[in-house]
């Protein structure tokens, strides 16, 4: 046994960490082995092949758990015809992307776009590399390239009986002119052997022994740590703080203003920084928002439900006239509150600023946006900034909605030029300074004709717009198109799955001072709750089966109907469930994919809900890694139902009331249910996977709760409604 004396501050290079087998080094500029990388020329931007045949695939998109990294590597490897067992990966930096004319295109990883948006050009990158490697071998052998074949990274010329490997010809291949893009023919997905297979993730082993370095784990020589507090009231400012009260505390280095909204304490360790910050007397200028209460936000939404003016989403026929002449109408109001992302890894970033250069190490869903933020905050030209990317301990839209964690880290590091400073948000700071799922309500009115067919539907959404917070420039004449996700009359992204003769969908935009952001699933989530629960109400009012009621409206939407039919068949819809168990259905299209779910639940006399099983179907066009799609489907139910059962961020005196997991409850394993996933890619399009299933999680369960209890839950979270038997 060894005894180590650890110095008061800092880490031991090669000490404890080395004893545990960790590497301290940082991989610059790429994620892989920098020393080997520097001597191995790339075949092209996407592919580096080392002399030992190791294939390094460059991954532009971010890995935050959703499996995109492995899926993209599969697509490249498929066209490259390499040996999957030799595939590894690295992250290019956004600075390198700028220097190379955006050769890797978009780094943004949101909207379930990682694979669907880049599949074409990454596959072409793999195919081009293959063509160059084979050409290099043909050149060396002085034979026609058409006579050479390749399999698993081994190139063969059968006529002369010669063969070589990618590693041996990579250097020569790197000198060749890349083939023109239009000369590249991609494989028919039906012939895939690497893509489309349920392969293991490339990034699992490091997550099992502590070696995976997340952003929060970054260590740099001489690094200090910062804890920060931003004004608890959104829009408030820092007025004063009394540093004399903390400057003698252990490890203390400096207390600094963070812009005009916050204060940070820099110390040798983060715990000492946080301890000192907690002891720091701070005076805030909370501003007028400190008077805003939850009731005010709800009142504005309620007013919007019946306001005379609203923004048009879409319309066909004349819903007002049809409702006025309807034989009968049904009306309901639903409400969905703010939600927080709660990534397991709280926001953080490390920055090193000098008058010459600004470097940032962080976990972001959009490294290009992080670089833009660095450029803005550092005061240095873009080519003097760089962002090094690390795996994300969860993203869910938080790390794409804003790069505020980068902004604050640089503002703080600028106060210590030449010293790297890691800024970590406490969980409390993270939860109270989010970019929240927008809070909205919806009033729905349906009209039935003389044959009791649904003839008219008016949906009035009232509440917050995400784009109005995040990106007002993207509003079109004040209209936030994203508000209508899942309700659009046409298009490949998020199309309504029903035909109603007279339809009117509107949005009364009612924004508050609470920042709204992209929360996994985004506006599809509440729109699916509104529409799918209301359709369930309508079916019940018409004394029709909820499946058949929907199917009658879906004749023009065969793909929507196919996933719904698939779950109905698998769950055994129409046959009795086990005693005491009740079923609920939902379907929705979003992020290019079609999803449906059927939940089976029971509710005890005491009102305790138990979810037994959920059967889910996904048509995402092409399935790149079925086992990872299944993982995303399961995880989406956990994420969506955590919100539906428990999630609610509320405002008091202008600030968020929930600060940690003790007041913002999560679904845990004791409540987990079986998930059966049907993956039914119908081809011809590329849909997303990371988010869509979330849309149907809540409505399927809420509809099953109605079937079980007769109680129609119209306010999320469910925990606010008693399900106790009357």
């Amino acid at each position: 046994m060894t005894t180590l004396t650890v110095p008061r501050r800092g880490f031991l290079a090669g000490g404890a960490a080395a004893a545990a087998g960790l590497t301290l080094g940082f991989h610059l500029p790429f994620g892989g082995d920098a020393s080997a990388q520097s001597v191995t020329p790339e075949v092209n931007a996407w592919v580096v092949i080392k002399p030992d045949d190791t294939v390094v695939v460059r991954i532009a998109r971010a890995e935050m758990g959703q499996g995109t990294l492995t899926g993209l590597a599969q697509l490249v490897a498929e066209e490259l015809e390499c040996d999957w067992n030799k595939v590894t990966w690295e992250y290019p930096t956004p600075g390198e992307n700028v220097r190379r004319g955006r050769v890797w295109q978009n780094f943004g990883t949101a909207g379930s776009q990682g694979i669907r948006q880049s599949n074409d050009y990454v596959r072409k990158g793999g195919a081009a590399a293959r063509m160059m490697l084979v050409q290099a071998a043909a050149n060396e052998w002085k034979v026609p390239v058409g006579e050479c074949t390749v399999a698993k990274g081994v190139i063969t010329h059968a006529v002369t009986g010669r063969s070589t490997s990618y590693g041996k010809v990579a250097a020569a291949a790197s000198l060749l002119t890349p083939p023109p893009t239009d000369s590249i023919t991609l494989k028919d997905p039906k012939t895939w052997t690497i893509a489309g297979q349920p392969l293991k993730r490339l990034d699992t082993p490091e997550k099992l022994n502590g070696r995976q370095i997340y952003s929060i784990d970054v260590k740099l020589p001489g690094m200090l740590n910062a804890a920060l507090k931003i004004c608890p009231v959104f829009g408030g400012k820092i007025k004063n703080f009394d540093v004399t009260q903390i400057e003698n505390m252990p490890g203390f280095k400096k207390a600094v203003r963070v812009g005009d909204t916050g204060v940070a304490v820099i110390a040798d360790t983060w715990w000492r920084a946080k301890t000192a910050l907690d002891a720091l007397p701070i005076e805030w200028d909370e501003g007028p928002n400190s008077k805003v209460q939850q009731a005010d936000i709800l009142a504005a939404q309620t007013e919007g439900l019946t306001a005379s003016e609203a923004i048009l989403g879409s319309k066909n026929g004349d819903a007002h006239a049809a409702l006025a002449s309807a034989r009968r109408t049904v009306e309901a109001v639903y409400a969905v509150p703010h939600q927080h992302h709660v990534t397991m890894e709280p926001m953080n970033a490390t920055a090193l600023w000098t008058p010459q250069k600004c470097e940032v190490w962080t976990a972001t869903q959009n490294a290009e946006a992080a670089l833009a933020t660095a450029t803005e905050v550092s005061g240095l030209p873009i080519d003097k900034n760089e962002v090094y990317r690390l795996h994300l301990g969860g993203g869910f839209g938080r790390r794409s909605s804003s790069q505020d964690f980068v902004r604050y880290a640089i503002l703080i590091a600028k106060e210590m030029p030449g010293t790297p400073v890691k800024t970590i948000w406490s969980r409390e700071e993270d939860m109270t300074h989010g970019w929240y799922h927008p809070a909205t309500q919806c009033r729905l009115i349906a009209g039935f004709d003389d044959q009791d067919n649904l003839n008219a539907l008016h949906m009035r959404i009232s509440g917050q717009s995400i784009l109005a917070t995040i990106s007002p420039a993207r509003l079109q004449n004040g209209r936030d198109a994203a508000t209508f996700q899942g309700l659009n009359p046409e298009g490949p992204e998020s199309q309504l799955g029903y035909t109603v003769p007279n339809l009117l969908i509107e949005h009364a935009m009612r924004n508050s001072h609470v920042p709204a952001g992209f929360w996994r699933g985004v506006n599809n989530n509440q729109n699916a709750i509104y529409l799918e629960c209301f359709l369930d109400e309508l079916a019940h009012s018409a004394k029709q089966d909820p499946l058949e009621f929907r199917r009658k409206l879906m004749a023009n939407h065969p793909k929507h109907r196919a996933v719904l039919d698939a779950v109905a068949e698998k769950v055994g819809w129409g046959t009795p469930p086990p005693a005491g168990v009740y079923r609920g259905l939902a379907q929705q299209m979003g992020f290019g994919s079609y999803v449906a779910a059927c939940a089976e639940v029971s509710v005890s006399d005491a009102g305790i809900l138990k979810i037994h099983r959920i059967v889910a179907a996904t048509d995402c066009g092409h399935a790149v890694n079925p086992q990872q799609i299944a993982a995303q489907v399961e995880g989406s139910f956990v994420y969506g139902l955590t919100a539906a059962l428990y999630g609610e961020i509320t405002i008091a005196n202008g600030r968020v009331e929930q600060e940690n997991f003790d007041t913002y409850q999560m679904l845990r394993m004791d409540e987990m249910f079986d998930v059966e996933t049907i993956i039914m890619p119908s081809g011809g399009f590329w849909g997303g996977v990371g988010e869509p299933t979330i849309f149907v999680a809540a409505p399927a369960v809420l509809n099953a709760v109605f079937a079980a209890t007769g109680i129609r839950v119209r306010q999320v979270p469910l925990s606010k409604t008693s399900l106790k038997k009357a």
Partner: protein, 152 residues
């Protein structure tokens, strides 16, 4: 000086006695596999073993741990993934983002050490760590797989 035994190495550390064990492990010792998630013993990302018992290290002051107590972190479980629980996690490709998985694995190994053949219900009740990615079903299946391997 505080003296701690972590992964069979003894460390002499100059820290304030009220510092949570988590931050001593992460910042003074430099083992970052143990994660910060909440600081209030809710999420379990900081789970380590103290004398074999799964313990949420974010909420216990370092002064309450003695030098005789053996602390094991994820790095001490098996760096080469030889532990049956790690093998099961690998076999079932459990992690998504992976941030909570150190804590999940440490909780699972402590559970199996205390109860080598847990029922499904016992696993549900004992595994209270939060996973925001929602890997609960694969975690449960991996514990059952590891249990079979260890007992077999």
């Amino acid at each position: 000086m505080t003296r701690l035994s972590i992964n069979d190495v003894v460390y002499d550390l100059d820290v304030e006695p009220e510092t949570p064990l988590l931050w001593v492990i992460r910042e003074q010792v430099g083992l970052t596999g143990t994660k910060y998630g909440c600081g209030v013993a809710q999420c379990g990302a900081c789970t380590v073993h103290i004398d074999g018992v799964a313990t949420r290290s974010c909420a216990i002051p370092v002064s309450t741990v003695t030098e005789q107590q053996k602390i094991v972190t994820i790095e001490g479980l098996s760096p080469d993934l030889a532990h049956p629980v790690q093998k099961a996690w690998l076999e079932l490709d459990v992690p998504q983002c992976g941030y909570c998985q150190s804590g999940q694995i440490m909780a699972a190994t402590a559970l199996l050490n205390a109860n080598p053949r847990p029922t499904e219900q016992q696993i549900r009740e004992e595994m209270t760590n939060i996973c925001r990615c929602g890997t609960y079903n694969r975690i449960k299946a991996a514990i059952q797989l590891a249990s079979n391997t260890m007992a077999g």
